[in-house]
Every structure is written in structure tokens, then in C-alpha cells.
């Protein structure tokens, strides 16, 4: 036990006396947590609209007014032909074009039927889908108003209609930050846990200082624990700072209990540190370990459901996500913070992460040899 205490002392000093590491460990996460959520606003608004109005009637003017008043669209371009309008989409000056045909008003009033053309830049599928849907909603609304003018009012509706009411739970103002901040926090904690720990061990290899430890009476379990515990503590510190920033800066107060988050984070970090340890046992140089842990964390992060929902992924990618500890923590974090889930709700997640922890650490300890060469 005393050996461990000395080892911990050595490690902590090594970390805290390296100003670069200290900066990266503590300042970077804060800066990121302050900047990233501002950038990661995925709400679809400010859709640039290019308009081609061949009609120039009172109806078309009213329609345009209704669209710009909705707040989703910005009328950035007013073209005279479909081709010219299409070119503005090509130059990324507009995301969406609406063509109002000549005789729009006459057709609607006389024939009772007219057709509008909408073309959407669909390279970004979500933006295109939602933008198109918003515009269609507005058009439908406009249609109903126009119809109400011409069709005599009657007490019962002429045809069966199903009214759809929406309610948005857990985040009624649709604030994207509530969704992103907990996820980003998980990403930061994960990066510290995995890359720093693995790099730290490989550094001893590369510097040759591992020799000294190998010839000392320190047992390999002690050595590994001595490497992991400081990072475990530091990652939890970063988590605490992050939760405080979330509370003070973004006003995110978890609906669930902070203890639930910490309990899960503690187990999760064991898994992540184990993974870092495992990677380090396979790397010979810092360059290798950095690259490998970088790619692994990158894959883990991008496939974690932080940016894109896991259910949308194809089956095989969902299987990968099931073996990705990060996705469990992100899910848990969002569940506890936004929905107030408790221990009972996240039991499957805890068991899964516990499994990872045992698996990674076990493999790493088996693979770590106290011999050089």
C-alpha cells in the first residue's frame, strides 16, 4: 500500500509540474465547453430562400409576406427565372427556391387549383428535409386561409379531419444546448481518460525510465494502479468543472441526481482508462500510441450518438455502437440530465460499462509484461 502511495505521489508530481499538460488538462476543457456549445447549434433556422415570382399579384405578395414572417426563412435573392434562381443555390447563396407560376392567383380563384414549385439544396439531408417541411406547412396554412375566404362558413366540417397536436417533452423550447452540453462533456472526459493515460505509459517506455521501474520491487498491479488512479481523479475533476459550467453558464440543472452521474462516471472511467492502458501495451513509441488512441477516440466519439442518432445508423454500425463505451455514457448523461432517469433506469448501461471495464483492464494486465524487449 505504501508503494502505491509513493507511486501516486510521483505520478501526480510528474503531471502537475508539466505546465503544458496542466494547461491542456484543465484550461482546454473549460474553453471548449464555453465555445463548443455555441457552435454546436443544430437548430434549423435562417434558411436562405430564393424567390421567383412570375405572378406579382396580391396573393403572391401575401404568400411571400407569410413566408418571411415565419422566422425560419430569409429572403436573400429575388430572381427573374428558375435558371437564375438555381444558380444562386449553386453558389450557396440560397438553400431553397420557390417558384410562383404566372397566373397563380387566377388559377387558384378560377380553376380552384394551382401548383407551386419548390427546389431544395439537399446535400445536407436534414436541413433539406426540415426546410422543405416548414415551407410546406406554411403553404398549407396559407391554403387554408385562402380557402376560408371562398368557402362559406359552416358549423360542421365538410370532411373528416384529423387534428394533430404536438407536445415536446424534456426540452420544450427545443434548446439545442441542453442536448449538446452533456454530450460534449462526455467527449472531453473521454479524451482525457484515454489518450493521456496511454501516452503517459508509453512515454516511460520511450524515455527508458520504464527500466528503472522494471528492476524495482514494484508489482505490476501497483504500477498500473499508480498510473490509472491520477487520471481517474483528474477526469472526475474535469467532469465536476464541466457540470459546474453547465449549471452556471448554460443553466442546465440535471433533473436527475448528481450522484447518479458520478456513480456512472466512476465505472465508465475505469473502462476508458483500461482501454488506454490496453492501447499502450501495444504501442512502442508515443507517435504510435497517440495516433492509435486518437483514431480510436475519434471513431468512438463520432459513432457515439453525440452528433447523429444511433438508430439512424445501419445495423452493423449499431452493433459497433453497442461495443462503444462512449455511447453508453452519452446516453446516460442525457437521460439523467434531461429526463431525470434514476439508477433503476440506467441499470443496463451500468452493467455494460462494468463489463467493458473488466474486459479492457483484464486484457491489459495480462498483456503488460515487466520485461523489456
Amino acid at each position: 500500500m505504501r508503494t502505491l502511495r509513493f507511486l501516486l505521489q510521483k505520478e501526480l508530481r510528474q503531471i502537475l509540474r508539466d505546465p503544458a499538460i496542466f494547461r491542456i488538462l484543465f484550461i482546454m476543457p473549460i474553453v471548449q465547453l464555453l465555445i463548443l456549445p455555441l457552435a454546436a447549434d443544430y437548430e434549423i433556422k435562417n434558411i436562405n430562400l430564393s424567390l421567383v415570382d412570375h405572378d406579382h399579384s396580391t396573393y403572391s405578395a401575401r404568400l411571400i409576406q407569410k413566408i418571411t414572417a415565419s422566422g425560419y426563412f430569409r429572403l436573400t435573392d429575388y430572381s427573374t427565372s428558375y435558371a437564375a434562381s438555381l444558380a444562386t443555390i449553386g453558389r450557396d447563396k440560397a438553400d431553397l427556391l420557390l417558384e410562383i407560376p404566372a397566373r397563380f392567383e387566377t388559377d387558384l380563384v378560377k380553376d380552384g387549383k394551382t401548383t407551386l414549385l419548390v427546389a431544395v439544396n439537399a446535400i445536407n439531408g436534414v436541413k433539406a428535409g426540415l426546410g422543405g417541411a416548414y415551407l410546406q406547412n406554411i403553404l398549407q396554412n396559407f391554403n387554408q386561409e385562402a380557402r376560408a375566404q371562398w368557402v362559406p362558413f359552416s358549423r360542421t366540417l365538410p370532411q373528416p379531419t384529423i387534428e394533430v397536436c404536438y407536445s415536446d417533452w424534456f426540452n420544450p423550447h427545443m434548446n439545442y444546448r441542453y442536448f449538446m452540453v452533456p454530450g460534449i462533456l462526455v467527449m472531453l472526459v473521454t479524451m482525457i481518460g484515454s489518450s493521456f493515460a496511454s501516452n503517459n505509459i508509453v512515454r516511460e517506455f520511450e524515455m527508458g525510465t520504464i527500466e528503472q521501474i522494471n528492476v524495482s520491487p514494484i508489482k505490476k498491479t501497483w504500477f498500473i494502479l499508480g498510473k490509472l488512479i491520477p487520471f481517474w481523479i483528474m477526469a472526475l475533476t474535469v467532469l465536476t468543472m464541466g457540470l459546474l459550467i453547465a449549471r452556471w453558464v448554460y443553466g442546465i440543472v440535471p433533473l436527475g441526481h448528481y450522484l447518479t452521474i458520478y456513480a456512472f462516471a466512476g465505472i465508465y472511467l475505469m473502462a476508458i482508462l483500461g482501454l488506454g492502458l490496453l492501447l499502450s501495451t501495444y504501442a512502442k513509441t508515443q507517435q504510435q500510441s497517440m495516433l492509435v488512441s486518437f483514431f480510436v477516440t475519434m471513431i468512438f466519439n463520432l459513432l457515439s450518438g453525440l452528433y447523429t442518432p444511433i438508430e439512424s445508423m445501419p445495423g452493423w454500425a449499431q452493433t459497433i455502437a453497442r461495443f462503444n463505451p462512449v455511447s453508453y455514457f452519452i446516453e446516460v448523461m442525457r437521460m439523467v440530465v434531461l429526463k431525470g432517469s434514476g439508477m433503476a433506469d440506467i441499470r443496463p448501461h451500468i452493467l455494460a460499462v462494468l463489463g467493458f471495464a473488466i474486459f479492457f483492464n483484464g486484457w491489459a494486465v495480462l498483456n503488460y509484461k515487466k520485461r523489456s524487449g
Binding site: 471548449q32 454546436a40 443555390i89 366540417l157 379531419t161 424534456f170 495516433l291 483514431f295
Partner: protein
């Protein structure tokens, strides 16, 4: 010139004889483009939903069937009381709950007016929006099938055309983004680490006392990485065309040329970082923090730049990947020529020259 080539060969051996790193350099971009190309998508499909049907009549049964049959939804829970809705949301299995009130069909037949309630888990606002939109389309569809034969008067129809990407595939947006990400990563991180390693190992001293000019030493270091990046670009493009079905509609030469230009920009940033960093660890984390995350955030491929607050929008202009992303989208997917992207090209070239200039000027030829 001969000396220069010898130095290039030396660098090449460094890379070539470290098989593990080489494997990562060439293999990882391929793995990533496949992983992200297929997996990183915002398309909504097979979202789990819960049904609370208090009326259980033919109309609700038909609607539920219609919803379950669509590729967007999968009914995974049937619940029996409103109180249960919150509990199933808390377990995180479902994204939407559809609630039919009592006497749904009776209301529909007698008063011509019935209600459906959609309760969405809005913790993810976009998915929630998309799901409610899809669900109301399905319900509207059902309603129209009830009204068959008697179209409404005074109707405005909309014809919607999805340009460039009619199937709304996620890969169209992600392939250009991943290209920027991978090139940035390989070039910047690897060059900066390669140079700092010489410093850390002490071999920089040997290089500095050699007859070759320091400037040439540095250039020689980047040449092999330029080659590897070219290989990576080609393999990414081949994969995106043949595996992901993202076609190259514009000129391939232009696309390759622009990619090489962007590689140059990334290499020059790598040089800049290596000037200031003392240890490999710092070099690595500086590249990661100052490039990888900004690329992810500010290139516009994951998050819309136009939504950001003004200072960040200004900041996004200094991120080279943003310009590269615009170029790749224009050339590869929209099929535009150099005339459409000359401005972006000039900006990238300017950045490259600027970074190169600064790093050559700051390059220390003296040991400390």
C-alpha cells in the same frame, strides 16, 4: 538537389520502416470513410415509438399499422395509461409517443373532427421535429385516403424537387467533410510530430550541423507525407464513388488539384506547430485541439455555420477546412468548375503561403 533527395529518402525510411505507423496512415482513412460514410447519418429511420390507444377501434388500428409499416417508425411499446409515457421515455428506448384519445373513430365519423396527440422526446430537437413531421405526414395521408374522390376546393399543390441529393443520403454531406478531416489529421499531426520527434530525441542537432539548409530539411520532411496524402485522397475518392455511391460530378483533375492544395495548407500548419512545440505530446495535443475540433465544428459539415453567434462565424473563416469543404462540395457534388470556387482557392493558397512564411521565418537554427 541531390542532398535534398537524400534527405527525402531518409524521411521516407523513417515512415516506411515503421510499419505500424504506415499501416495507420494508409489504413485508417479507408476505415474512417467507410465507417462514417455509412454510419454517420442524420436520416431518421426505425425510430422506436410507443402507442397509447385508448379507443381501440378500426380507425386507430389502421393508423397504427400504417405508422408501423413506414420505414421511419417501429412500434416497440404499447402502453395503457398516460402515466406510463414518462416512464418509457426515461428508459430511453423510444423517441415518440402517439396518443389516440377515447372514441377516436366515433368522433371522426360523427363530428368530422378527431384528435391525435404526438408526444416527442425533444431532448434532441431536430430528430423530434423530423419525427413529428413524418408522423403528421402519415396521418394526413390517412385522412386524405378517407376523403377519396372529393378533393378540396381552392387547392395549392406543391411540387418539391430535391437537388443534388434526391434520396437525402447522409453520405453526400459527410464524404467531403471526412475528406477534410482525414487530410488535416494525417498531414498536420504527422509532420508536426515528425519534426518534434527529432527535437525530443536530440537528432535535430545532427540535422542542423549538416550542410543542407534548414529550410530544405523541413521541406524534405514534408515530401513523403505529401505523397501519402495523395494516396489517401485517391483511395477516399475511389471508395466514395464505388462503395458509397457518391458520384464525382465535376472535374477530377480540379478536385485532385484542390485536394493537393489543401494538403499543402495542412502541412504548413504542421510546420508551424512543430516550431513552437517542445515535446511530441504537446505537438499532438496542439494539433488535436487547434485543428481537429475546429474542423469538426467550423467546417460546416456537422453544424450549420449560419446559426453561430457572430464572433464564431468570423472565426470560422480562419479554419482552412471550411474553404476546402465548400470547394469539395461544389466540385464533387454540384459539378461546378474553377470559376465557382476561385475565391476559396485563392484563400487556401494565401493561407498556405502565410503559414509557410511564418514557420520558415521562425525556424530556429540554434540549439538552446
Amino acid at each position: 538537389m541531390r542532398q535534398f533527395l537524400i534527405f527525402v529518402r531518409k524521411e521516407w525510411y523513417h515512415i516506411w520502416r515503421d510499419k505500424r505507423t504506415l499501416f495507420i496512415l494508409i489504413g485508417m482513412p479507408i476505415v474512417q470513410i467507410v465507417l462514417y460514410g455509412f454510419a454517420l447519418t442524420n436520416e431518421v429511420k426505425n425510430s422506436g415509438i410507443a402507442i397509447l390507444d385508448e379507443s381501440r377501434d378500426p380507425a386507430t388500428t389502421a393508423l397504427i399499422q400504417k405508422i408501423d409499416a413506414s420505414r421511419y417508425f417501429e412500434v416497440i411499446r404499447v402502453i395503457h395509461s398516460a402515466a406510463e409515457i414518462e416512464a418509457v421515455f426515461r428508459q430511453g428506448k423510444i423517441r415518440l409517443a402517439v396518443v389516440f384519445p377515447r372514441q377516436f373513430r366515433a368522433d371522426l365519423l360523427h363530428t368530422n373532427h378527431a384528435q391525435v396527440q404526438l408526444v416527442a422526446d425533444a431532448s434532441d430537437p431536430n430528430t423530434a421535429n423530423t419525427l413529428t413531421n413524418y408522423a403528421s405526414f402519415i396521418i394526413n395521408d390517412y385522412q386524405q385516403s378517407l376523403n377519396q374522390g372529393q378533393g378540396l376546393p381552392y387547392r395549392i399543390d406543391t411540387q418539391v424537387r430535391m437537388l443534388y441529393n434526391p434520396e437525402l443520403k447522409g453520405a453526400y454531406n459527410f464524404v467531403p467533410g471526412v475528406m477534410a478531416l482525414v487530410l488535416m489529421l494525417v498531414c498536420t499531426m504527422m509532420t508536426s510530430i515528425a519534426i518534434v520527434r527529432e527535437k525530443e530525441m536530440g537528432t535535430m542537432e545532427v540535422l542542423l550541423v549538416s550542410p543542407l539548409k534548414p529550410f530544405r530539411i523541413i521541406i524534405a520532411k514534408t515530401v513523403p507525407y505529401l505523397l501519402i496524402s495523395f494516396l489517401n485522397i485517391v483511395s477516399i475518392l475511389l471508395l466514395s464513388v464505388y462503395a458509397l455511391d457518391v458520384p464525382i460530378t465535376g472535374s477530377i483533375t480540379l478536385l485532385l488539384g484542390e485536394s493537393m492544395l489543401f494538403t499543402g495548407t495542412s502541412l504548413s500548419i504542421g510546420l508551424l506547430i512543430s516550431n513552437t512545440a517542445k515535446t511530441q505530446q504537446t505537438a499532438m495535443f496542439t494539433s488535436m485541439m487547434s485543428l481537429f475540433l475546429p474542423t469538426l465544428l467550423f467546417s460546416g459539415f456537422l453544424f450549420p455555420i449560419e446559426n453561430m453567434p457572430f464572433p464564431l462565424r468570423v472565426l470560422s473563416n480562419v479554419v482552412p477546412s471550411k474553404w476546402y469543404f465548400i470547394i469539395v462540395k461544389a466540385v464533387m457534388i454540384k459539378g461546378l468548375g474553377l470559376a465557382a470556387v476561385w475565391k476559396e482557392t485563392v484563400i487556401l493558397a494565401g493561407m498556405t503561403l502565410l503559414f509557410l512564411g511564418i514557420s520558415i521565418k521562425n525556424f530556429k537554427i540554434r540549439l538552446e
